[in-house]
Every structure is written in C-alpha cells, then in structure tokens.
C-alpha cells in the first residue's frame, strides 16, 4: 500500500522522503510540512511518518487505538486545482472503488495551536469511516501561507484494516506470509503504554523540557532555525509525555502549551527571516 502511494505521488511530481527521525505527534510536524509550508517556493513531497501520541496508548487492548502508528502524508504547494481528483485517484490506486464505496468530504477544519497553524478542509469518509484528513493550510507559525499548501494525511492502519477487512488492528496481515501487525507491534504497545503512563521519570522529563527549551533559544541565537525547530518538536513530545503521566494540571497545561507554541513560532519566524531575502528576489510579488 505504501509502495503504491509512493509510486502514485512520485508520478505526480512529489519528492519521496523518509520519516523524520524524531518523535512527533503527527506528520505535520515533519520539517517537510511545517517549514516548507512557509515561503513562496513550490514544494511537493510525500512520506510516511510514524506518530506518537502517548495519551492514546491502550496497552494493546483497544482494537483501533495506538500510541504509535503511521501516517502517510502528502504536501503540495501551491495547492493544485485538481487536488481532490488527484487524491481520489490515489484511493483507486490502493484499491478503493468510488462507485462501490461511498466517498464523502465532510467538513473538518484543522487547527494546531502549538504550531500556530490552521487550515480548512474535510475528513474524507469511506463508507462512514474517516480515512484521510484533507487540509488547505491557511496559516503556519502564525504566518499566512503564501501560497496555500494542500496537505493530505492518510491513516495507514485504518486504510489497511479497511482494505484487508479486519476489525482489529493487530490482526492486520503485515507481509502476506503470516506476520501480523500484532506480531510486530503488540508488545511495543504494551510496554510503551506502561512507560508512558506509569514509568517515565517525571523529574527527568521536566528537566528535559527545560533543556529543550533552552537549546531552542540557543539555536535561535545562532540563527540555525531548523535546529531550533527540532528542539521545539522535542519539547512538544516531552510535554505530551508529561500529560500522559498526569502531572500537568489543567491550569499548567495552557502555560506549557504556550511555551511550546513560542518555540515553534520562534523557529518559524527565524526560518522566514533567514530565507526572506532569497525568496523576495526570486518572487518579487511575495511578501511575508
């Protein structure tokens, strides 16, 4: 399925990338999405991104909730006029016939306060199941997207469950030769759920959060915004872990989110500032 998507999006002119090698909550955090959504330069990319959402862990007991799962992400900037058609063809490529299955675009706008980002779009339904998040980015890092990028996020496990017609994610056939998703990931889910919820040393996590925050500032001062952004991602994930450990109160939550947002925005701002002159000379009609 991933290969079919890679082939298809590659034919559409996308750069095929590898996952970002950091712990992130969604494919959107990949620099290929967040940072590349800024600025005027065209950018088309597709990649798989493993995602970690510590609070979604269910110790391997829930048939469709995981603390670690995979997204397939496509970003096309500027958003092409036929983006919906391109997307629908990609569904056919992985075996979903739109005359047999009911494909629908249901309003679902996207917002990430931590990234200072929002967009309008839909969740795409296949026979009532959400299989893709389809978003036209309007802002990123607090900046208007000029031009707007279209972002497609496929939930790979869900799509696979649909195509293979299984009810439990752990029953997914991984290789057609008897290896299931559970064989690969069940133990991982159990142990990581336990660590996320019960074991992780919270003092160490608070310490790491502070260090990531400081390192982000350090990188910003040295004008290396990509490095700063990595520290923002790191802080974001540590915040999620602290949440899962239940040691952040409701009031503190807003303040931590604000701190992560400041890091992410600061990184975007520095990225913009660094690239600005080059962008303006190549695209005179563009303004920040």
């Amino acid at each position: 399925m991933i290969l079919a998507l890679h082939n298809y999006w590659s034919e559409q002119g996308c750069v095929i990338l590898q996952p970002y090698d950091m712990r992130v909550g969604a494919g959107t955090f990949h620099t290929a999405t967040t940072l590349r959504a800024l600025g005027p330069e065209p950018w088309n990319a597709a990649f798989v991104q493993p995602c970690r959402r510590p609070t979604d862990g269910r110790y391997g007991e829930n048939p469709n909730r995981l603390q670690h799962y995979y997204q397939y992400q496509v970003i096309l900037k500027p958003s092409p006029p036929d983006l919906q058609d391109l997307y629908l063809k990609s569904l056919e490529v992985i075996g979903i016939d739109p005359l047999k299955h009911d494909i629908r675009f249901v309003e679902d706008d996207w917002e990430s306060p931590t990234l200072g980002a929002w967009g309008l779009g839909w969740e795409v339904w296949c026979d009532g199941m959400e299989v893709t998040q389809f978003t036209y980015f309007q802002q990123m890092g607090g900046y208007d997207c000029k031009p707007v990028a279209g972002e497609l996020t496929y939930g790979l496990e869900r799509l696979a469950m649909y195509i293979q017609n299984v009810d439990n994610v752990y029953d997914l056939d991984f290789n057609g030769r008897g290896v299931s998703y559970g064989d690969v990931f069940l133990e991982n889910e159990k142990q990581m759920s336990k660590w996320n919820f019960e074991v992780a040393n919270t003092d160490a996590l608070f310490d790491l959060f502070g260090k990531a925050e400081a390192e982000c500032q350090n990188a910003l001062q040295a004008n290396v915004p990509i490095a700063a952004y990595e520290q923002a991602i790191e802080a974001s994930h540590i915040f999620n872990l602290l949440q899962a450990r239940g040691v952040i109160s409701v009031q503190e939550r807003a303040s931590y989110m604000g701190r992560v947002r400041d890091l992410a925005r600061g990184s975007c701002e520095a990225y913009m500032a660094k690239e600005k002159d080059r962008w303006i000379s190549a695209y005179p009609e563009w303004q920040a």
């Binding site: 009911d102 309008l120 839909w122 026979d127 036209y136 031009p147």
Partner: protein, 718 residues
C-alpha cells in the same frame, strides 16, 4: 424578458453553511440588480455540496434610461466655481443649461444615462456577489494565493455557469472564467455538461445524477429513510436536522439500512443515538414497541452497483467499532461505584480560586441538605438530597462521559440506577443540570430540585465572590444561565425563600461576602429578562422590587403580575396618572411634611409605638382619622371623600398584601381612583391659607404612601 441562471461550483461546502449561503446569494444578487435599477421576477436558489445555483426569471434586456440633473452656481459666478461644478459632474461647460431659479439664471448639469444591456449588468454583478459573499469561514487556495490579495471562498472555487437567455454572461473572478458548462455527480458522471437553456438545467443535472434542488433531496431522504425502516418492520426516529445535514452532504442521496449487534442494546440508548447521529450522521430506528432497535440508516451519495451492500457493510463496521468502544466504557465504568468514581474529582480543578470539583460537590451536598431541612424544598429526603449531590458529578471522571461529554448527568443517572440507588437519587443525578437555559424542562422531583438549585447557587455565588462576573457579552462560566435556572426552579416549584437567605447559605466560607448585594441585583436583572418572555414589563419588576423586602421571588412575581394587570386596566392607568400628578406636586412644592409632623406620629401617641410593619398602615389610618378632627377648616367635599377613601383603602390594601392577595391590594388601590380624580378636579392644593395648603399636601403625601405600600409607582414608565 429573459431568464438568468447562475451556478457557482466549488469543492464541498460544509452542510451547515448551505442554508445561509442560499439566503446570502439571493440577497446579494437582488441588491446588485436593484442598484442597477433592474427588477427580477421570481428568484429560485438551490444548493448541493458542490454548487450554489440561482435562477432569476423575467429580467428585462435593457435597464431604463435615466436622466439626472444637478444644480450648480448662478450665471456670472467665478469661473473657478463653474469649472469645479463641471468637473464634479463630468460635463463640459458648453453642456451646461441655464435655468431660471427664483429669478436668477442658474447653471444646471443634465446627465442622460442611457439604458444598459442587462447582460452587462449581470457580468458585473457576478464578481461583485462573489467578492462580497459573507461565508462564516473562508479560505485562499492555489497558485494565486502567493499574494494575500487573492480571492476567498468557502473552499476552492472551481467553476461559474452564467446563462442569460441563450447567451453566456462573460465574467472572470478569482481566476475562474464563466462558461456554459457544469459538472455532474463526482463519481457517476465525468466530463462537462453544456447547458443551453435555463429550463434544461435541473433535468440535465438529474440525468447526470445530481438533484440540484436541496428541498427535493431532503424530501427524498425523509421518504426513503422512512420506507427503509418500514420495510424492516421498524419505525424511523425522525430527525429533521439529520435530514438537512445529509441533504447537504449528498448530490444523489441513497438511504440504506444497516444493522448492529443486538448485544450493544444494553448500552444506554442515548449513547447509541449519539454515536450514530453526531459521529456518523445516521438515523436510528425504534421497534414496534418504541424501544431502540439494532438498526440504523445511513445516507450514501452513490447508487452502487451491488445495491449498496459494500457500503452498508462498511458503515456497519464503523458503527460497531464505535459501539464497541461505548460498551467497553459502559463495562469498565460500572466496575467502580459512583462513590469510588467521585474520589477522582479531587484531581479536577473546578476553578483555581474555588477549589476542586470534589470541594464543590461537598458544598453542594451541604447546601442541598440545608434546602430540604429548611423546608424550602418540600417533600424531599435530606439524606437522599445530600447523597445525590455527592454523586452528582462523579460521572465526569468516567470513561463514558470522557468520550461523550454531552451525556454528563445522564450517564451518572444510569450508573446510579445500575448500582441500585434509590430512584429519587438516580433521577436527581440525571437531571441536576436542568434547566439548561430557558425553555428546558425544569425539574419538579424534590430531591432533584434540591441538588439542582444547590449546584447553581454554589456556582453563581462562588464566582461572584471571586469577582468573576459576566461582563457584556462575556460570560465564560455561564452565570446568566445559572441565574435563570435558579429563578425557574424557584418559580415553577413555588419555593418560598428569601433570596438573601439563599445567597448567604451558599456563600463560600473564607471568601468575601460583599458580593451578596451584587448577586441579588444580578438575579433581579435576570428576573426581568425571564419575565420579559412572559411579556412582563421591566418597570413593573422595579416597582415591586422597590417595596419587597428580602426577595421572595415567588411572592414578587405574583405581585408583579397583579401590578401589570392593574396598570393595564382603566382604573390602574388613571390611578397611575393621579399618582404621577400627586408626586409631581409634592416634588415641586418640596414637601417633606408640615411642622409639628413629629408630634402626629411621635412617641406621645401610644399607637405609634407599635412597630409591626403589617399594622403600620392600619395605625396610620386610625391616626389620620383622629387628626381629621384637628383640621382648622372645614374640608371640601372632594378632600373629605379622599380622606375617607384612604382610611378604607389603606387597611384593606395592607391586609391584602400581607395575605399575598395582590389582586385584592390592587382593587383597594382602584377604590382611590375616583376620589383622587375628584380631588384634583375640585380642590386647590396650593391654597392661600397656609393651613389648607399644608393639610392638602399632607393628604397627597398620604395618598402617595398608600400607593407605595402596594408598589412603587414612581418606577413605572408613563
């Protein structure tokens, strides 16, 4: 005369926005036409997820020619002025006309604006409508969005069909050029569809699997969903909101019936309905005996070759997964008692200055018990009220409410019943959030009343005490709603209590108690809002509040209603006029009683020593009667009649007020109407004799006081 068809196509418009969009399209189009002086015949507007369509009938081919003229400076005015006038009106000097205005030759600019082709008007109107369209949320898209000036639409705009008579109306907006083609169903039809005439539009689209008229799709969903249920021996649970939403999600709606495992029916029906409705937009069905059936109806957007078997199977799986989650929560939650769940409330902050939810529950439990013990809420068991209050918020920490927050209360009620708690307790847990806003059911079960009232009082008083009051449109803690809830509970259930006592009882220890007065006036303001819906005037509320002590709402509302009825009657209106006249005279004369007044009401009179407020008017009447003999002159007839009427009315009104017979009190006041009218007709208040003047002003003062004992008429408008 020709007809006009406009179709604006775009990517899927959110269902909830389509109704507003249809109205906006018609409104903007009409206003563009009317600015150009064109009057359309009938206008029809349709919507699907992918298009807005407008048909305007019987438009003229040409607008009317108009002639506009402007008056300028007189002949002989400085050149500068005349040139300026020409520039302003876009004419040359030799085009000016000279006309006689009151004997002076004056320049006039006459502009003859010829009629325009309506096609041209339309070509300008379309971009104007699109640019001005007020979508609740709109976006930029595509390569053009490199510039922040790029156009906005609800989702990317993809096509414009504009046909006037047989002709294309040429225009371009947001990078889209108008044409004569439209598109059919996303999956059932590919390629362009050319529309040659307005009247073919609807049927050509239908042939391409698009029902463009939203009302037709709605009717179809309604009918087919009903018959799908009927064919399965079931009854559709009708839901007009879902009908409209599904019509807004489909161009070719096909309702299909699916099933889920009967075992899920052990989960509360509200949970199943919510899963099906909110998340999946499915209708649900009842069996013949009115219980929830294990069936749902989804609305597909295609006519699938297999009759929808794969679609139904897919949707069944999605719903089953959701219901499995719900049953998992239902099972897990019931492994603990509500009391055990309630322990978890200690970890949830209610508000940083008001402690945890557990702290709140503790306060509410005490207050609920107090309300019962004080006999304010009658017929409840104090123990049960306290118990229900302690468990009322426990469901907030259950998995089920975590997943379905809108079911708070209801879920707690189910769990309490499953635990075998008394019905009064589980009902109270279920309903204690009610009433949620005006128009919601007001609880009438005693234990529920106690918990609900205690909960809302605690919230209202607590937030006022920490100075978190609603300001303007901001009311983050929904205190207005809490106040309305408190008033509804009190009034509908005839709860007799002074507002000040309730506020004092609800006051959080250790917090400022200064808020009491503010809360009381906040409640009075809410009472006005609430009574406004019953067509009670705010000034009536003020007139009664001014004379009511302590704020027993039930008593006040009765009094207010009687007052408004009275003021609405002829007697009442006249008495009000008499009152205003008396009050004006007293104000003008700056009358504060005559010299020696003290001796009339002072200690020497044994009757004045009695301080029972209910007796006061009676005593006063008695004393006035006595002093009547003291008058140094023979009173006029009308004067005497007013005195006598007052002597009769005062004790009658007082007794009626004490007995809460406010109609009786108003009737007593009504008896003063003729005497006060006669008095003003026949008696000169401002008499030359100072003794007469003083006595008559005193009499008016007495009349005013008598009226005040029933209501403060000075607060009444008019």
């Amino acid at each position: 005369m020709s007809d006009f068809l406009l179709e604006l196509r775009c990517e899927e418009i959110p269902a909830r926005m389509q109704k507003g969009a249809r109205a906006d399209l018609e409104k903007l189009f009409r206003s563009e036409l009317s600015a150009a002086g064109v009057t359309p015949g009938e206008i029809v507007v349709w919507s699907t997820p992918r298009r807005l369509a407008l048909i305007a009938r019987d438009l003229p081919e040409q607008t009317e020619a108009v002639s506009e003229e402007a008056k300028g400076p007189p002949e002989g005015a400085p050149d500068q002025a005349i040139d300026g006038f020409c520039r302003k009106n876009g004419v040359t000097r030799d085009q000016l006309e000279l006309r006689d205005v009151k004997g002076r030759a004056t320049y006039f600019a006459v502009k003859n604006i010829p009629g325009r082709a309506v096609k041209d008007v339309l070509a300008e109107a379309i971009p104007a409508v699109i640019r001005a369209f007020p979508w609740p949320k709109s976006m930029r898209w595509g390569a053009a969005s490199l510039s922040s000036e790029s156009g906005r639409w609800v989702r990317p705009l993809s096509g414009i069909l504009a046909l006037f008579g047989d002709d294309l109306v040429e225009c371009e907006v947001h990078g889209v050029t108008s044409g004569l083609v439209t598109a059919g169903h996303r999956f059932h039809h590919s390629g362009d569809i050319t529309i040659g005439h307005v009247d073919n539009y609807q049927e050509k689209l239908r042939a391409c699997h698009v029902i463009v008229d939203h009302a037709e799709r709605e009717a179809l969903i309604r009918d087919k969903a009903q018959s799908a249920a009927r064919n399965a021996g079931l009854v559709l649970v009708e839901d007009e909101g879902l009908v409209v939403e599904n019509a807004g999600l489909t161009e070719w709606p096909v309702p299909l019936l699916g099933r889920f495992d009967e075992a899920f029916l052990e989960v509360p029906p509200e949970v199943i309905q919510l899963s099906a409705r909110t998340n999946q937009k499915y209708f649900i069905c009842n069996d013949a005996s009115g219980n929830l059936a294990n069936a749902f109806i989804c609305t597909a957007n295609i006519e699938a070759a297999d009759g929808g078997a794969a679609i139904v199977a897919g949707n069944e799986k999605v719903l089953a997964a959701r219901l499995a989650d719900a049953r998992f929560f239902w099972d897990v939650d019931r492994k603990k008692s509500l009391a055990e769940h309630a322990e978890g409330l200690k970890r949830i902050t209610f508000h940083e200055k008001l402690g945890t939810v557990a702290d709140k529950v503790e306060r509410v439990a005490k207050l609920a018990r107090w309300l019962v013990e004080q006999d304010i809420v009658k017929g409840a068991d104090a123990q049960q009220a306290e118990q229900a209050a302690r468990l009322s918020k426990a469901d907030l920490v259950t998995e089920m409410v975590g997943e379905f927050p809108e079911l708070q209360g209801l879920i707690g009620g189910y769990y309490a019943a499953a635990e075998g708690l008394p019905e009064a307790v589980s009902d109270a847990i279920r309903d204690h959030y009610k009433p949620v806003g005006q128009g919601d059911d007001v609880p009438s079960a005693p234990v529920t009343i106690a918990v609900s009232l205690a909960d809302k009082l605690d919230t209202l008083v607590g937030f006022f005490q920490i100075d978190e009051k609603p300001t303007g449109s901001k009311d983050p803690f929904a205190l207005r709603r809490a106040a309305i809830g408190i008033l509804s509970l009190i009034l509908e259930n005839d709860l007799r209590a002074f507002m000040f006592d309730l506020i004092t009882a609800a006051a959080h220890p250790g917090k400022t108690s200064e808020a009491g007065r503010e809360i009381a006036s906040f409640l009075i303001e809410r009472l006005k809002v609430q009574q406004r819906d019953a067509n009670i005037r705010h000034d009536m509320v003020d007139a009664v509040v001014a004379v009511e002590q302590g704020g027993d709402n039930v008593r006040m509302v009765k009094r207010i209603a009687a007052l408004q009825a009275f003021i609405g009657s002829e007697d009442g209106a006249n008495l009000l006029a008499g009152y205003k006249r008396a009050a004006n005279i007293l104000k003008k004369e700056d009358w504060h009683g005559e010299e020696g007044e003290i001796s009339r009401t002072g200690e020497e009179d044994p009757l004045a020593m009695v301080d029972d407020p209910d007796l006061a008017p009676v005593i006063r009447a008695k004393m006035d009667e006595r002093h009547l003999e003291d008058l140094s002159y023979e009173p006029d007839d009308a004067e005497k009649a007013l005195m006598e009427a007052l002597s009769k009315a005062e004790p009658r009104a007082a007794a009626a007020v004490a007995a809460e017979d406010f109609e009786g009190a108003m009737a007593a006041l009504a008896s003063l109407r003729a005497p006060i009218d006669d008095f003003f007709e026949n008696v000169t208040v401002n008499a030359d004799d100072p003794a007469k003047r003083a006595a008559r002003l005193s009499l008016l003062d007495r009349f005013r006081a008598a009226v005040h004992n029933v209501a403060d008429f000075s607060k009444i408008d008019g």
